[in-house]
Symmetry: C2
C-alpha cells in the first residue's frame, strides 16, 4: 500500500501538487478536498467571465472532478472543508458542506494549498446584500448576474488594483456606470507615476470614474440591500451594487491552529522546498510566504503563475524530490481597454528600501518600424543600480507586445544583467514587429547614461 497524501485545496497549487505527486509516485494514495464547488479553474479569467467574453464557468475549468478522480486516479471532493489538522495523530478533519457530515482522514504526508480570500473591511454595511467579491467561480456567477442584468446600473469598485481595474473595464463594456475608489493617491502605485496617470486617462476616456486618495467608509443600506456608499470626506453616492477588491489575506488559520510556523502577513512559513515547520507537511500557493528573487526579502505576492509552479514543486518534493522554489520577481501584466501594463522586479521605492542606490530611466519608442503601419508607442521605465548598472526592475505600458518585452527583462534581471549587457542583446528585428532598435535596447541604452562612469 502506498503512502497516503492529503491535499487541502483543489485549485492551482493544490491540484498541481496532487497531479505531480501522482505522476512521480503512482502508488501514492492521494485525496484532494476543496471547499468550493469548483476545482482547477482559471481565477484570472473571472473578470472576462463577468464581462461576458467568456460564456460559461465551465470554460474556466481545465479539469473536472470526474477527470481528476477517474482519469488521474486522485479522489477529489468539492464542498469539503478541512477544519482541523491533528499533527500528533496525523489526521485531517473534513466537513462535507452539503450534508454537514464530519469525517477524519489519516495522512502520511500533507499539502496545504488553502489559498487566500478577499479582504472584508470592517465598515458599516459590509454585510448588506449587493456587496460582492471576486475570487471564486461562485463569486463570479453572482457578480455576473447583477452586471449583466437588464437596465442601467451604477457600481462602485472599492480598490484600484489590477483586478479591480480589469473588472472596471469589463463592467464598463457591459454598460455599467463604474466608479473606482482607491485610497492611495494613485492607481497601481508600484508603477511609475506617469504610467499610473496613463492608466487613469485610459479608464476615464472609456467612461470609468476614477477617485483616488479616497476610500469607502460605509456601505449605505436600505432593507438590508446596498444602495450607496459614503466615501472619505463624507460624500455619498447612490449605487446599485458594490465590488470589494482591496486585496487578499492568506487562508492560514488551519495551519496556525495546527501550530505550524507562520510568516509575514499571516502567511504560512515554508522553506525553499516549500516544507512547513512540520517535516511531513508542505504548503504552496497564495497561502504561503515567498521570497523576492532579487532581495531575498520575505514577500506575499499571490499570483496564479506562482501557485501553479509551487504546486508542481511541492508535489515533486512530497514524492521524494528536493526541488526548490527560487522566489518571485512580482512579474505582472494586465490590460485596461487598449492599454497594456506590465512590470517585473523592484519599483524605485522598493529598490531604495532594499538599499540600492537606485535610479529610473524612461523611454518612449514605437513598437514597430516607424514607417510600418500600425506602430504604437511602448513606454518603458527601468529601475537600475546607479553604481553597478545592474537592472533591478522594468515597467512598461503600451501595446500588447509590451508583455513580451517585459519578459525579456525578467530573464535579464534573473541573470543579474547590467543595462549595458541588455543593450548588447542580439534581439530579433523585422519592420512588422519591432523598430531596428527595439524599445528594449533603447531603454537599456538610455539607462546606461544614469550609471556612474567607471574611472579609467
Amino acid at each position: 500500500m502506498g503512502e497516503k497524501l492529503i491535499v487541502i485545496g483543489g485549485t492551482a497549487a493544490g491540484l498541481s501538487a496532487a497531479s505531480k505527486a501522482k505522476r512521480v509516485k503512482p502508488d501514492m494514495e492521494i485525496t484532494v478536498f476543496e471547499k468550493s464547488g469548483y476545482i482547477s479553474y482559471g481565477a484570472c479569467g473571472l473578470p472576462y467571465f463577468v464581462g461576458g467574453m467568456i460564456d460559461s464557468p465551465d470554460d474556466l475549468v481545465s479539469l473536472t472532478v470526474d477527470q481528476v478522480t477517474n482519469k488521474r486516479g486522485i479522489p477529489t471532493y468539492i464542498h469539503h472543508e478541512a477544519t482541523k489538522i491533528d499533527r500528533e495523530h496525523k489526521t485531517v478533519t473534513v466537513v462535507n458542506l452539503d450534508s454537514g457530515e464530519e469525517s477524519v482522514h489519516p495522512y502520511d504526508k500533507l499539502v496545504i494549498a488553502t489559498g487566500a480570500r478577499p479582504i472584508r473591511p470592517n465598515i458599516p454595511g459590509i454585510d448588506a446584500d449587493g456587496v460582492y467579491y471576486l475570487r471564486t467561480v461562485e463569486d463570479g456567477i453572482r457578480l455576473k448576474a447583477v452586471v449583466q442584468a437588464e437596465g442601467k446600473k451604477r457600481a462602485v469598485i472599492v480598490g484600484g488594483g489590477f483586478i479591480g481595474l480589469e473588472v472596471a473595464e469589463e463592467m464598463a463594456l457591459s454598460g455599467v456606470e463604474v466608479h473606482v475608489y482607491e485610497l492611495m493617491p494613485r492607481l497601481l502605485p508600484f508603477l511609475d507615476e506617469s504610467f499610473s496617470q496613463l492608466v487613469r486617462d485610459t479608464l476615464e476616456q472609456h467612461g470609468v470614474h476614477v477617485h483616488t486618495g479616497c476610500g469607502v467608509e460605509a456601505v449605505l443600506e436600505q432593507d438590508g440591500k446596498a444602495c450607496g456608499v459614503r466615501v472619505t470626506g463624507g460624500e455619498e453616492l447612490a449605487v446599485d451594487f458594490v465590488l470589494m477588491s482591496i486585496g487578499v489575506v492568506p487562508n492560514s488559520e488551519l495551519a496556525r491552529d495546527a501550530g505550524l510556523a507562520l510568516g509575514i502577513k499571516g502567511t504560512i512559513a515554508v522553506d525553499d522546498e516549500l516544507r512547513t515547520s512540520d517535516p511531513d507537511i508542505w504548503a504552496c500557493g497564495d497561502c504561503v510566504q515567498m521570497k523576492n528573487r532579487i532581495t531575498g526579502e520575505a514577500v506575499h505576492v499571490p499570483l496564479g503563475t506562482t501557485a501553479n509552479k509551487q504546486g508542481r514543486i511541492a508535489g515533486d518534493n512530497v514524492a521524494g524530490a528536493h526541488d526548490t522554489f527560487k522566489g518571485v520577481l512580482g512579474s505582472m501584466v494586465t490590460k485596461v481597454f487598449d492599454l497594456y501594463i506590465s512590470a517585473t522586479g523592484l519599483s524605485l521605492d522598493q529598490a531604495k528600501k532594499a538599499g540600492f542606490d537606485a535610479v529610473t530611466s524612461m523611454i518612449t519608442k514605437g513598437d514597430r518600424a516607424s514607417y510600418y503601419p500600425g506602430s504604437r508607442d511602448n513606454k518603458i521605465c527601468l529601475v537600475l543600480d546607479r553604481k553597478t548598472g545592474r537592472l533591478l526592475g522594468a515597467q512598461g505600458v503600451g501595446s500588447e507586445s509590451i508583455a513580451g518585452r517585459i519578459n525579456v527583462f525578467v530573464a535579464a534581471i534573473t541573470c543579474g544583467m547590467t543595462v549595458s549587457e541588455v543593450n548588447e542583446l542580439d534581439l530579433v528585428y523585422a519592420p512588422p514587429v519591432a523598430p531596428v532598435y527595439d524599445p528594449i535596447l533603447i531603454a537599456a541604452s538610455q539607462a546606461m547614461k544614469k550609471v556612474d562612469r567607471q574611472e579609467g
Copy 2:
C-alpha cells in the same frame, strides 16, 4: 583643428558610426561618402514599399543628406563612390558618379561601411531587362514599378530565404502570380523541418507557388527582355519578370585592394573593437566578419540590427573608446501573411557541428489562456545540450507574440541559461496575453526531459 574622419557608406553602419563619433568628439571633421542616392534608409522595409504598404521611398529614410550635413554637422555626399584607399598617404579617392569627377581626400581615421550586394549568379540571361534585385532604395523603386503596373503578371523569385518570402507575400498581395524557386530541399532550412513545412503551407494557401530542390538555370530572353526561366530538370516557365534573391556578398574589394586582411566569405576581418588590420581603419556592418556569440566561430550574418550596433561601436572607438562587439546569435523574425517566424541561436545542425551533444524539443501551446478569445498556437522548438541542459537555440512560429518569446530565449542564451533555469523564470501572466504556463515555460519544461539525468 580636429582629426579628419572619412566614412565610406551612409546607410545603417556608416551613418551610425559618423553620428556617434560626432557626438563623442564634436571637433572631429567627419565626411560621409555614399555611392547610392539615399542614406540612412530602412532596407528591411523595402518589401513593404514594393507591396505598396509604404507609399514613398522617403518614408523609409530616417535622415536626409541635408539633416546630416547641416544639423549634425557631418558633410555627406550621395552618388559618391570611394574607389581607392591609399593607406600610405592616408587618402581616399572618390568619384562623383553624376559628374565623373575624381577627388582625393586625406584622412586621419577611416571607417569602411560598404555593406553587401546581392549575389548575381553567372547564368545565361542574367543581364536581361526584367531581372531585378532588392537591396537599395533604387532597386525598390524599380521593382515596385513593375509589381504595381497594370495587368496580370507572373513573377519568379529565385531564392526562398526570408527576404524572398517577404517579397513573395507582398507581390501576391499585389495580385502577381508568384513562383518561388529554392535550390535547397526546403524553405528557410535553418528551421526545424516541420516549421519549414508550415511556412510553405502558408504561402501555398495564399496562392504562392513554391518549388524546392529546384534552381533557375537560365533566364530566357526575347529582345533583351526576360520572358521566362529554365529550371533544374529543363522545364521552362514563361514569366514577366524575375527577382534574384539568393543572398549577398560583402563589398570588400576596396579593403582588399588596400591590402587589409580579409575574413571568411570575402568579409573584411576586424577585431572585437571592429578595427581592421590597419590601426587607423575600422569596418562595420554587412561587409565585416562577425563571430557567433555561442561558439565564437567566424560567421557572416548581415542584418540591419547588427549593422546599427556595430556602427555605434565603431564610431565610439574611432573617437577613442574601446567598446567591443560581442557577436551575433543570428536572431531573426519575419512574417509570411499571418504566420510569424522567429529564431535565435544555433539550429540542431549548427549545434552538432559545433561539437555539442545537441537535441531538440518541440511544443505547441496557445498564446493566450485557452478560454480567452483569439488564442493562437505558438510552436516552439528548442535546441539544447543533452549533457548540461544548456539552451543553444530557439525557433518559433505562430502569432506575432512569437517574436517577444524568442527574445526571451535571446536573453537566456546570452546568459548561458539551462532549460531548467528558463523553466524557473517568473514571467508575466494575464489571460489576454498568455496562458498561465507561458509557451516559453512549457518549451523549457518539455526540454528538461531531454537532459541526461544527473546521478543522485
